[in-house]
């Protein structure tokens, strides 16, 4: 889309875009270029010189059991977070949409956890499931279940999934309720007159009409669980036990900053870059379609 009317000039518009371009160049493109460059080298042990290794860092990564494991961990983690947070949100949105009165106040009560940072959510859930003082751990103990996410890999995964999904419900709820309210009531009523029960109406009319929202949320939630959940992992498990909750982003951080393995960390950054690019393209292809609906 273009404007018919435009102002003339070369220096003024260039000066106007310059602040953004400079920041983008210094903090986005230059570091990204550095990551690509570093991924092809390994520094010597004293950090004095760099040795060209071509795709060596990548070969090394994919031969590494822990890195391949991190891919699978990330896949399991993001699928679980997406399904749990979208499932709960859809359930609540469908309920709230059925009300004539009061759906506004429920909305207010349900949306504000959006403001809780993932890292804070991590601390809240860590507190409840803490092995020594956690309330839920204590009650589980009464029931004869010995909860210990510090040692048990499945429990650690379950905890980071719950904490990450919990904070995401508000966001998904908001988009689902907007999507539900955009469905013409007359369509649903026509089906009701024809005798379709609630579940049939939901399955055959509501859910298909909601599919643009659902697909959009799928992509956005996968991106969320790939990147923004770093705070949850870092506060609750620090990637453990035995790297059971080390998602890709966490591994870039722990190899680069804690392990100081720059070549490997840079190669991981480049792989993540490819992943984000694909997700962004999917998101934009879809959004372009959404405009036509």
């Amino acid at each position: 889309m273009e404007k018919r009317v435009s102002f003339r000039g070369i220096w003024l518009p260039t000066a106007l875009v310059l602040p953004q371009i400079i920041i983008t160049a210094v903090f986005f493109f230059y570091p990204a270029g550095q990551a690509i460059w570093q991924s092809l080298y390994i520094p010597d042990p004293f950090g004095l010189s760099m040795q060209w290794v071509g795709l060596g860092n990548f070969e090394f990564l994919f031969a590494d059991r822990f890195y391949r494991g991190s891919f699978i961990t990330t896949a399991i983690f993001s699928i679980l977070v997406t399904v749990v947070s979208m499932g709960v949100a859809l359930y609540l949105a469908v309920l709230a949409d059925r009300l004539i009165k009061g759906s506004g106040s429920y909305r207010t009560l349900l949306i504000w956890p959006y403001a809780v940072a993932p890292a804070v959510a991590g601390v809240l859930w860590l507190f409840m499931f803490n092995t020594r003082v956690g309330v839920i751990t204590w009650y589980l103990g009464i029931l004869g279940y010995d909860w210990n996410h510090v040692l048990n890999e499945q429990e650690a995964m379950a905890l980071v999934v719950i904490a990450s999904s919990w904070g995401r419900i508000s966001y998904n709820f908001l988009f689902f309720i907007a999507g539900l309210q955009a469905i013409p009531k007359s369509v649903i009523e026509a089906a009701a007159i024809d005798g379709a029960r609630f579940w049939t109406r939901f399955r055959t009319i509501v859910f298909p009409l909601l599919s643009p929202t659902t697909f959009f949320l799928l992509v956005v939630n996968i991106i969320y669980s790939f990147f923004e959940t770093f705070g949850v992992i870092h506060t609750i498990t620090s990637g453990g036990p035995q790297q059971a909750t080390t998602i890709l982003v966490y591994k870039v951080y722990s190899d680069g900053f804690v392990g100081q393995d720059l070549g490997s960390s840079a190669a991981q950054s480049v792989i993540l870059l490819a992943v984000v690019s694909i997700l962004t393209v999917i998101q934009f292809k879809f959004i372009e379609r959404r405009v036509h609906y």
Binding site: K3, V120, M128, W166
Partner: protein
């Protein structure tokens, strides 16, 4: 919104079940926050002897004043201030540079316009998480560690905000710019006198979203601030845990968690309409 036709609405027991389902969901969402609040009002000795009480006790004042004035590594009041500077800096900075670049891209034909547009678009594919080590090195070389500019500047470029303003400017009637040009108004006059006032609601909505985004940053402050006095509250929380085997000071940590949520929660509830608008608009 529902338009009130009763055909497919629940009555009687169905209505109660709907309310019940929603209340259960709300309890699930509130429970962790309630526990955090309770924990911030009890004494440490009650926490170490589980189960902790489920109703608030009377150490509220002691815990919060201890957290705010001395904290564990740094006073929480200091961390709150740092978070505030970072969140407002990021929100204002992003809005400013995005307004300017969107104005240039929509209202001018100049060489490099397409190129700049795509450069800005590409930043979408470069979240800070994928370039942490080299971005950290840049910030370190620019002497930005432990500084507000280091907390703010690297996060200030945003394709989303630029797109949002571009989208909005495209819907502004051409006649307005035409009239301004015929009157001989300079482009910047048009921008300040006409475009900015028209963008007020969009700016406010975006501010709400970006404030929360900035406040809740975790990874970047974790890398760039090593001095506890420069920690933001969200990343400083994790630093309050002991590294050894002793039990964490949960009452103070939980008081800090509550303090970390209060400002963004106030913003979301207080500006709910703008928040929803900002959220839905910025995702388009």
């Amino acid at each position: 919104m529902n338009n009130g036709s009763g055909m497919v609405e629940r009555r009687g027991s169905g209505l109660w079940l709907t309310h019940l389902g929603l209340v259960v969901g709300i309890l699930f969402i509130f429970f962790p926050i309630w526990l955090a609040f309770v924990a911030s009002t009890v004494a440490h000795r009650e926490i170490v002897q589980p189960p902790m009480p489920l109703l608030p006790c009377n150490e509220f004042f002691d815990n919060y004043s201890l957290a705010l004035t001395s904290g564990i590594n740094a006073p929480v009041a200091r961390m709150l201030f740092n978070s505030g500077v970072m969140a407002i800096g990021i929100a204002v900075g992003k809005i400013l540079i995005s307004l300017l670049s969107a104005f240039a891209i929509v209202y001018f034909r100049f060489p490099g316009r397409k190129l700049f547009f795509w450069l800005i678009f590409l930043t979408l594919m470069l979240p800070v998480e994928v370039r942490i080590v080299p971005t950290f090195e840049v910030a370190a070389n620019l002497k930005m560690l432990n500084s507000y500019s280091g907390l703010i500047l690297p996060l200030v470029a945003s394709a989303t905000a630029t797109f949002l303003f571009r989208q909005f400017f495209l819907t502004v009637p051409d006649e307005l710019a035409e009239a301004a040009r015929v009157d001989g108004a300079k482009p910047m006059r048009f921008f300040v006198d006409i475009l900015l006032p028209m963008s007020r609601t969009n700016i406010a909505a975006l501010f709400v979203i970006l404030f929360i985004y900035g406040w809740n940053q975790y990874l970047w402050p974790l890398l760039i601030t090593t001095d506890p006095d420069m920690n933001t509250i969200v990343m400083g929380l994790k630093q309050m845990f002991p590294s050894g085997d002793e039990i964490a000071n949960w009452p103070v940590i939980m008081a800090t968690s509550i303090l970390a949520m209060v400002p963004p929660v106030i913003v979301v509830i207080g500006m709910q309409k703008l928040f929803i608008r900002g959220l839905i608009e910025s995702e388009k």
